[in-house]
């Protein structure tokens, strides 16, 4: 593992939507090692309140040691982050976790719901680099909440958009949109990130079409190093019995088929 703890300088901080911000950091040690699906763990406070770090997925990496984060302000940690400006230093730990596994030269499906776009943009980039054909399904509540559309459009992917209110693209859930294509197209592998309910539906569809599929999960975290066992998520073992695996180092990307989607789920 190449996890490092560093002070990363803010290169740019930009508001992307009502509560969504983009942050570009200088963090060569992360860039060098980063895999799509991995995250960085960020100290969002100068005091002991709030205390814990906040995990944010790697959204993109640059050529000169930059990493890009995209996040929604949810509470005090992300609000603190939104107050940072170019030149500030931020304490980050990373890159952390098991990322997505990519084939080479195959057709793959990426299914992003809402902020689930964050790791999937980075994944799309690496998928293209590996010579894959990328079908990118991107859903959001409405048009205003479709972030990075221009960046995605500029990439050599097949982009399919859905919105819950129909303000852009397909009117309905992104998994429903995806389903339309599942009959006709065969994917070597599917990848999803988004709200838990959407991931469960994604997993169901993947199983139905007997497709290898990976999802990125979230749980509250403390250490981010696999030491505290605080970020456990419920998986199913070969015999269908529940066991718990750390999201931080055992994930955040899991095989969709291994995840326990049952009623333990929040």
């Amino acid at each position: 593992m190449l996890i490092q703890n560093m002070e990363a300088e803010v290169l740019a901080a930009r508001q992307m939507g009502r509560e969504v911000f983009l942050l570009k950091l200088q963090a060569p040690a992360v860039t060098a090692a980063a895999q799509p699906g991995q995250f960085v763990h960020i100290r969002c406070s100068e005091t002991m309140d709030p205390l814990l770090r906040r995990p944010l997925s790697i959204h993109d990496v640059g050529d000169k040691g930059e990493i890009v984060l995209l996040y929604q302000v949810k509470g005090r940690g992300t609000a603190w982050l939104a107050g940072r400006e170019a030149g500030d230093k931020i304490d980050i730990l990373g890159p952390i976790g098991r990322g997505f596994t990519l084939p080479a030269g195959k057709r793959v499906a990426l299914v992003a719901g809402g902020l689930g776009i964050v790791p999937l943009l980075f994944l799309a980039r690496r998928a293209l680099e590996a010579g894959n054909e990328v079908d990118f399904f991107y859903g959001a509540q409405d048009k205003e909440r479709l972030y990075q559309l221009e960046t995605l459009k500029a990439m050599k992917i097949n982009l399919f958009v859905a919105t819950d209110d129909g303000s852009a693209g397909f009117h309905g859930q992104v998994t429903r949109l995806w389903e339309h294509y599942l009959e006709e197209r065969t994917y070597h592998r599917g990848y999803a990130c988004g709200p838990r309910a959407e991931l469960a539906e994604f997993a169901r569809l993947a199983a139905k079409y007997s497709m290898a599929a990976e999802v990125s999960l979230e749980e509250k975290m403390a250490c981010g190093l696999g030491a505290c066992r605080g970020c456990a998520t419920a998986l199913l073992d070969a015999r269908g019995k529940i066991y718990y695996e750390n999201v931080c180092t055992g994930g955040p990307v899991f095989n969709a088929a291994d995840v326990y989607w049952g009623d333990q789920v929040k």
């Binding site: 703890n5 309140d49 509250k220 456990a232 419920a234 718990y244």
Partner: protein
Amino acid sequence: MKQTVNRSRVNLEVQLAGLTLQNPVMPASGTFGFGEEYAPLFDLNRLGAIVVKTITLQPLIGNPPPRLMETPCGVLNSIGLQNPGLEVFIREKLPYLRRFSPPLIVNIAGRTIDEYAELAERLSAAGGVAALEVNISCPNVKEGGIVFGTVPDMAARVTAAVKSQTHLPVIVKLTPNVTDITAIARAVEEAGADALSLINTVRGMAIDIKTRRPALANIVGGLSGPAIKPVALYAVWQVAQAVKIPLIGMGGIMTSRDAVEFLLAGATAVAVGTAGLVNPTAIIEIIAGLEDYLVEQGLNDIRELIGAVQI
């Protein structure tokens, strides 16, 4: 008047229950996994001792998520002692841990007194273990789930059972969730404990007001971190008056200044838990900071601080 002290001359070494610690700082059980998790970030040989997650006889899958909740200056956890069990520990974790020079302290917990005894026996035979830390903050399944560590007599019986099965120093780890922690400490001392660790986490709870459900699936959790520091420090000070065996103080130590408070209160060594979850190199910074404090204060030897609070 303060003397001028050379940093290289400062002595951080302490003796604890027959162990020699190159410095009095170690990780707190359960926050440091099995050591390997922190190895990418610093050299484990710099620690005063290595303390691993609680080991039970059988593997435990732990509690369902959510297991963590951040609270003001603290963390609630309900990991549920998730661990691979004694056998896997000995086979898969111990060989790695044996590579390091600081004494290895293995934390154990049982559901019955016999389980504690068996753990002690088998770990003592395993080789490479320097001491046992006995976690008595666990419910006694045979006696209606009363926590071993809350009843002096039960705590003493666990201690005696462990002692009878091991030649290793036995450190008993006390829970703060009692009316009189000194009564437990004295009972455990009489039963043969070589040292005490205190404190384990403080019982606590949080509720998510959106879902109206407990924030932890387990409802109750253990509170740790800076929030509990005053509680831990008082426990250490009180127990230091009550017993003669050495103490390992813990609870909310974030900086070397916090560590000094625990030493002054009477701890011979300290453990760092939650701080490491926030700042992975906190423990290394604390060791360095202790050295700086001694230099600043014109002291040559960290042992001059132990119990030196002026009442």
